[in-house]
Symmetry: C2
C-alpha cells in the first residue's frame, strides 16, 4: 500500500467520523433521545424536557466535547466509580506514552528509516508505506542505535508512567475502601462448601460453626436458597406478563407496592393482588415444608467488624479446604445469585472446562481471520479467484479493498466475541457480576491479542501451517519478519476499527434504534432503566489494550502509525468521558480490579516489542543493538515483578490496618448499632420463617433511597434467592420503599447488553 | 548392549553391594564406630560399650535388615519426625506402583515386545537389550493396545495410590500440628519489613503497631539483632580456640556452666572465666550504646493464642505490602538466623537472581553429561580417539566401559550439585532451615531431572544442537525416538548409581573415615554431636524421584528395567529405615512439606510417560493407541488439579478450626500461663536491656531437658542474635541448664554436612 491509499483510508474514516459525530451532536439534542444519550440523568429523574422546536436543535455543535474535556477526575469518580477512573487512566497513560513515542520515533527514527537506503525517492504521496518502516534500513547499518535508543526511551518512560499509575490507583483503591460509607459487603463473608449433615439443616450447621469458632464477632447469617419449581413458574408467568403488558405504564420513581414472596419483586401494581394471594399460598403452605430442602450449601455470614470479616475471609477455615470456603462477599448489587447455588466442588471443574472451551473457541476463530487477511494481499486473491482480476485492477477498488474491507469484516466478526466470553464467564461460576466482567475481560483480551494481533501478524506469512509457535527459538525472527510487513494493516485497522468504533460507541446505534422502534412503532413507554447499561469494560479495555499493543510493537518499526493512534486515543478520551458521564450507569464496581490486567498486558506488550526488536536487529545484523536489547527485556520483567510484589496484593486482599481504623471510627461515631441493623437485611431476605435475619426490629430503620442505580438484571432476582430484597443504602445502592413490608425493595430491570 | 553385558553389570553391582553390606554389618558392631552408625543413640547417651573382643564381631550378619524391616511407622515417626515418615511413604509408594507396573509389563508387554517381529531369536543371554523394548514391535501392530492398556493400568493405579497417600499425609500433618505439645512457633509470628522511623527504634515501632492493632492478643516481641564487629571477633576467637584445643575433652552430657554473652554458648569450662570477663565488657559497656543501631527490621511477635498468631500471619497487614510482612515463625531450632537480617525488600530480588543462577548452572552442567554419554557409544568414541581402538575391542573392557563407567562418572559429578544448590538456597534468603532444605530439594530435583534424565535421553541423539525443546510439536516424537534407545543406559544407571549409592549411604564412608582419622591419627575425642547429621532430604528425595521418573518412562517401553528398579526400592526401604532409626538426628522438621514436591513430580513423570507413549504410538502408526492416550493425559492433569485444590492448601496454611480447638484445650487444661512464660524465652534472648522478653519471672520455669537433639549449627548462633538462647522444651528441642542465668541453654555443634 502506498501513502495515497493510506490517506484515502484516513480520508474515508475521518469523513465517517465527522459525519457520525455531527449526527451525534444533533441527535443528543432531541428530547426523544434523552433516554439514549443521557440515560444516567433520565433514570434518576425521568422527566421529558419539552424543548421548543427550534433550529438550533438541528445544528451540529461541539459543546459535548468541551463538557467532556472540562470534567474533572473527581466528577468521573463520583459518577462512574473507581472502575471508570481506572479506565480513563488507561487512556491517559496511553496518550502520555505514545506522545513520548511519537516524539522520538517521528523526529529520530522516521528520517533514518526514510533515508535508510540509497534510493531515488518518489514524491511523498506516491511513496510506499514500507519506505517508512525499519525494512528500509539497510543491513548492518550504523544508524540502528537510534532504534535501540528509541526502544529504551519508550520502555523506560512506559515503566515510569506505569509505576506512578499503579501507585496512584492503589491509593485510590484504598481511598475507595476507606471513603465508602459503611458497606454491607465489608462486614459479610460468603461461605460455600457447607458440609451436609443428616441431622441439621445447612443453616444450623452455619450457625453452629461460626458461633463456635467466631463467638465474639459472628452476628448472623443468611442462607442462599435454590429456586423451586413454583417460584420458577411464578417467574415465567411474570415474564410473560411483562412482555404482554401494554396497559398504561406506571411512572417509575413512585413507590412500588409489590412484593411477591417466592419470586422477585417487580414494579407494577397490577400484579399486587394476585401476588398477595399466591404469597399466602406458596410461602406458608407450600414452601414451608420444603424450606430445608431448598437451602444451598452457601450462606452470607455477617460479622461485627470489618476486620473480623476480613479475617474470616482470609484464613483457611477447615482441614478440608473444599469445605467452609470463605471469601469476602460482593456488594449486594454485585452478587450473581444464580451462581451461588453451584456446589463449590464443581467450581474448579467448571473453570477448567471453560478454559479449554475458550482456548478451542480462540483457535477455531482463526479461520475467518485468515480469510480476511487474504484481502490485504490482492495478488494472491486475484490468483485464487481469476474472475476478480478485472475488478481488482481498478485503482479505487484496490484501495478500498486493501485499505478498508479487511478491518470492517474483522470488526463484524469481533462483535460476536464478547457475548460468548460473557457466557463462558457466567458458566464458570463467578459469584459476582464485577468478577464475571473481569473474567470476561481477560478472556476477550486474550482472544483479541491472539486473533487480531497474532492472527494478522502471522497469517500473511506462516500461520497457515500453524508452525511459528512450535519453534521457540525462531519466534523473534519470525515475528520480526512479519510485524513490519503487517504495519500497513495495523495502521488501517486503527483508522477503521479504532476510529469507527469510537463513533459507533458515541452514537449508540442499537439503543437508538430500539428507542425509535419503541417510541414510534410500538408506541410504548417502558421503564427507562430497562435499557440502562453498565459500562462494557470487558469489550472496551481489551480494545484499548490491543491498540496499545499495536502501538508498542509498531512504534519503532513503523512510526507512521503513531499519529493515527494518538488521534484515536485523544478521541477515545473525549468519547469515553462523555459516555461515562452521561450514558452508562454504575450498578456495581470491582474497585479498580481492572488495573492489574492493564498493567500485565502493557508489560506483555513491551516485552513482545523488545523481542520483536531483538529479531529485527538480528535480521539487520546489528549485534550491538541486539546486545543492548536483551538486558532491557530482563529489566522490564524485573520491574513487573517488583510491581507485583509492591502493589498487587492490595488488589487481592484488604489490608487489616485500614479496616481496623475504619472499625474504630465507626465505634467512635456510635454508628455500630445502625450498621448492624442494616447489615441483616442487606443481602436477600430469607424465607419468612428464617429467624436469622428476619429481624422485625430492623425494618424500621430502613431509609428510602431513590437513585438511578437501583436497577438489577433479571438474573439477580432468582425468586427463591431474593425475597423483597432489602438493600442497604450505600452510595452505589438504593432501594425503594415497599409499602407492604416497610422496607426498601429493589426494582428488577432487564438490561439487554448485560450478559 | 546385549543381555550378557547387562548381566555382567548387574553381577558387578550385586557383588559390590553384598561386599559393602557385609562390611557394614561388621563395622557397625565395632564399638569404635558407635558414633558413626548409631549416632542418634550415641548423642543421647555417649557411653562407650566395652564389648569383649570376640569373633562374632567380625562375622557379617543380617540382623540390621530384620530390625529395619520390623520397625513400625510409629517408630519412624517418633524417631525421625513427620518428614522421615513422608520419605518412607515415597519409597513405599514407589514399591507399590512398580510392583503393579512390573506385573502387567513383564507378563503382558514383555512377551509382545519379544515376539513383536518375525525374526530368528538367539539364545536369551546373547539377545540384544533392544529386542525386549517396544522398538522391536513392528509398525501398525495390532498388539499395541497391550501397551496402551498397561499405560492405563499404571497411570490409574498411580493416581489412586497418590490420592490415598496425599490424604493420609494430610491427616498426618494435621495430627502433627495438633499432637505436638505447646510449641512456641505456633504462637509466634515473624514480622519483616518494619518501617524505619527517625523517632522510634524498630522495637518501639513493633510494640506500637501490634499493641494498636492486636491489643487483645499481642503478648510481647523479640527483635532480631545484627551481628556487630565485637561479636564477630569473639566468634572467630572461639572458633580458633575450638580448633586448637587439644586439652582433655569434657564429657558431654553434664551441665555446661558457660555462657558467652555476645557470642554463642559452648560446652567447655575452660573458657568460662575469659567469657565472663568479656561479657561484662561487651554487653554492658560496648553493646549498650549501639543497641538500637544493631536492630534489624525484623522481629518475632508473640501472641496469646495460636489462632491469633495464624490470623496475624495470614492477613495482609499494611496498605504497603512490602511493610509489616508477617508469616508464622519457624520453630526456634529451625530458624536460620543469619538470613533474618536480610531486608525484606531484597528477598524477591535475591530469589530471582538465584533462580537465574540455578538455571545457568543447570545448563552449563550439560557439558560433562554429554562427555559421559559419549562413553555409551563406543563406535563414536573409537572414531574420535583412534588410539583407543585396540583397548576397546577387548570384550571385557567394552562391557565395563559401556555398562559401568558412564554412571560412575556421572555420579561423581552429581556429588557437587547438592552443596551448590544448598548454597543457592541459603543466599536466597530463606529464614528457616527446613525451608532452605525444601528449596534446595526442589533445585536439586529440577537439576537432576534436566541433567540426568533429559541430558542423557537427548544428548545421545540430538541435544548437541540443543534443538529439541525449540520445536514444541516435535517433542513427543523426539522423546519417543530417544527414550527406548537410552533404556540400556538407564538400566545400568539404576544398577550402578542406584544400588551403589544405597550401599554408600549405609556405609557412611566420609564420617567413617573422619572417625578413624580422629580416633587413630589425631587421637582426639570431639563432642559426639558435632558430626551428627540431619537427614539429607535434599539429595535423597530427588534421587528417589529420579528413579521413579526413569521407572515410569521406561516401564511400558523397556519393561526389563523394572525388576532392577524394584530391587533398588526394596533395598532403599531397608537402608533408609535403618539410617533414620540409627544414624540421622532430627533437629527441625518441615511437617510433611516435601510431599507436595513428590506428588507434583510424580504427576510430571506420569504425564511425560504418556507424552512419550503418544510419540511412540505415533511412530508405530497406531492411531487407536494414540487416540486413547490423549484423554489419559487430560485425566491425569485433572486429577492433579483436584489434589491441588483438595489437599495442598493445608500444606501452605494452618486451618483455623484445628488451632482454635487446640487453644481451647490449653485453656481447659490451664496450661496457658505456663505457655506464656515459656513463650517469651523460646526464641533468642535479647540484649539485657530489652524489656520485652527479658522477663526475670520466666526463668524460674525453665526445665532442664537433655536429649540428643539439642545440637545446633554454627550459623544458628550468630553472636548478636542468640544470647544464652533459652529453649522451650518441646519434643524436638532441648536445652541444658546454664548455671549462670538459671535458664536452659543450647549447645552449639558444628555439623559438616548441614550446608
Amino acid at each position: 500500500m502506498d501513502i495515497s491509499a493510506l490517506l484515502t483510508s484516513a480520508g474515508i474514516n475521518i469523513a465517517i467520523c465527522v459525519v457520525l459525530l455531527s449526527l451525534y451532536s444533533v441527535l443528543r439534542k432531541q428530547p426523544s433521545n434523552l433516554c439514549v444519550y443521557f440515560t444516567r440523568k433520565y433514570v434518576a429523574e425521568p422527566v421529558m424536557r419539552s424543548d421548543p422546536f427550534c433550529l438550533e436543535r438541528f445544528v451540529p455543535s461541539a459543546s459535548w466535547i468541551m463538557r467532556a474535556w472540562q470534567a474533572t477526575d473527581e466528577e468521573v469518580l463520583s459518577v462512574g466509580g473507581l472502575d471508570a477512573v481506572v479506565f480513563m487512566r488507561v487512556v491517559v497513560f496511553s496518550i502520555r506514552v505514545f506522545i513520548i513515542a511519537a516524539m522520538i520515533c517521528i523526529f529520530l527514527v522516521l528520517p533514518i528509516n526514510y533515508y535508510g537506503q540509497e534510493m531515488q525517492h518518489k514524491q511523498i504521496h506516491a511513496e510506499s508505506f514500507e519506505v517508512f518502516t525499519i525494512g528500509n534500513v539497510k543491513e548492518a547499518s550504523k544508524w540502528l542505535w537510534a532504534h535501540c535508543l528509541a526502544l529504551y526511551v519508550i520502555s523506560c518512560s512506559a515503566c515510569v508512567l506505569l509505576y506512578f499509575e499503579y501507585k496512584s490507583i492503589t491509593k485510590m483503591r484504598l481511598a475507595h475502601i476507606t471513603g465508602s460509607p459503611p458497606n454491607a459487603s465489608h462486614f459479610t463473608v460468603l461461605v460455600r462448601g457447607i458440609p451436609w449433615s443428616p441431622d441439621h439443616s445447612y443453616s444450623d450447621s452455619v450457625e453452629k460453626f461460626f458461633s463456635t469458632y467466631y463467638p465474639a464477632s459472628y452476628v448472623s447469617h443468611q442462607m442462599v436458597y435454590r429456586t423451586g419449581t413454583v417460584e420458577r413458574l411464578m417467574k415465567d408467568a411474570e415474564m410473560m406478563y411483562r412482555k404482554l403488558k401494554t396497559a398504561e405504564p406506571q411512572r417509575a420513581g413512585s413507590s412500588m407496592p409489590c412484593c411477591i414472596c417466592g419470586g422477585s419483586t417487580h414494579s407494577f401494581k397490577i400484579l399486587k393482588n394476585e401476588a398477595e394471594s399466591v404469597k399466602s399460598k406458596t410461602s406458608v403452605d407450600v414452601l414451608q415444608p420444603n424450606h430445608r430442602e431448598k437451602e444451598c450449601p452457601a450462606a452470607f455470614v455477617f460479622f461485627r467488624t470489618r476486620y473480623a470479616a476480613v479475617v474470616a475471609a482470609q484464613v483457611l477455615q477447615s482441614p478440608n479446604p473444599m469445605l467452609w470456603v470463605t471469601e469476602l462477599a460482593p456488594e449486594p448489587h454485585d452478587v450473581y445469585w444464580s451462581n451461588l447455588s453451584i456446589p463449590y466442588k464443581q467450581v474448579w471443574l467448571r473453570k477448567i472446562t471453560i478454559l479449554l472451551g475458550a482456548i478451542v473457541f480462540m483457535v477455531l476463530f482463526i479461520a475467518p481471520v485468515t480469510v480476511v487477511q487474504g484481502l490485504t494481499q490482492l495478488d494472491q486473491l486475484s490468483h485464487t479467484f481469476p474472475f476478480l482480476k478485472g475488478i481488482l485492477k481498478k485503482k479505487y477498488v484496490n484501495q478500498v479493498v486493501t485499505g478498508y474491507l479487511p478491518s470492517v469484516v474483522l470488526m463484524l466478526f469481533m462483535y460476536a466475541v464478547p457475548p460468548t466470553m460473557m457466557l463462558f464467564s457466567t458458566m464458570e461460576g463467578n459469584i459476582s457480576r464485577s468478577e464475571r466482567k473481569r473474567s470476561a475481560c481477560i478472556k476477550v483480551l486474550n482472544f483479541t491479542i491472539w486473533n487480531v494481533f497474532f492472527g494478522n501478524v502471522l497469517s500473511g506469512s506462516i500461520i497457515r501451517q500453524l508452525n511459528v509457535f512450535s519453534s521457540v527459538r525462531d519466534i523473534p525472527v519470525q515475528l520480526a519478519k512479519a510485524v513490519p510487513t503487517q504495519a500497513t494493516f495495523f495502521t488501517t485497522y486503527v483508522l477503521t476499527s479504532g476510529w469507527a468504533s469510537l463513533a459507533c460507541e458515541l452514537i449508540q446505534l442499537f439503543p437508538l434504534l430500539c428507542n425509535v422502534f419503541r417510541k414510534f412503532i410500538l408506541r410504548t413507554r417502558e421503564e427507562p432503566s430497562s435499557w440502562a447499561l453498565t459500562f462494557p469494560y470487558h469489550t472496551e479495555i481489551p480494545r484499548l489494550l490491543l491498540f496499545g499493543l499495536i502501538g508498542f510493537t509498531c512504534s519503532v518499526l513503523a512510526p507512521l502509525i503513531l499519529p493515527f493512534l494518538l488521534a484515536y486515543f485523544f478521541l477515545a478520551f473525549l468519547v469515553y468521558r462523555n459516555q461515562i458521564l452521561h450514558v452508562y450507569i454504575t450498578k456495581y464496581q470491582s474497585g479498580g480490579q481492572f488495573w492489574p490486567i492493564v498493567h500485565n498486558t502493557t508489560i506483555f506488550s513491551m516485552v513482545l516489542t523488545q523481542i520483536i526488536a531483538l529479531g529485527v536487529f538480528g535480521i539487520k545484523k546489528s549485534p550491538v543493538a541486539s546486545g543492548f536489547t536483551i538486558p532491557l527485556i530482563f529489566l522490564t520483567l524485573l520491574f513487573n515483578e517488583y510491581c507485583r510484589k509492591r502493589f498487587s496484593p492490595v488488589f487481592r486482599r484488604s489490608p487489616a490496618q485500614v479496616l481496623i481504623e475504619m472499625d474504630r471510627q465507626d465505634e467512635q461515631c456510635g454508628r455500630i448499632e445502625e450498621i448492624y441493623s442494616q447489615l441483616k437485611a442487606a443481602y436477600n431476605s430469607p424465607l419468612p420463617t428464617d429467624s436469622h435475619s428476619q429481624d422485625p426490629s430492623t425494618s424500621g430503620s430502613r431509609r428510602s433511597n431513590q437513585d438511578q442505580e437501583s436497577s438489577r438484571d433479571p438474573e439477580s432476582l432468582k425468586p427463591g434467592s431474593l425475597r423483597c430484597g432489602k438493600v442497604m443504602p450505600t452510595t452505589e445502592q438504593s432501594g425503594r420503599i415497599c409499602e407492604k413490608c416497610q422496607s426498601s425493595i429493589v426494582l428488577p430491570r432487564a438490561s439487554p447488553r448485560e450478559i
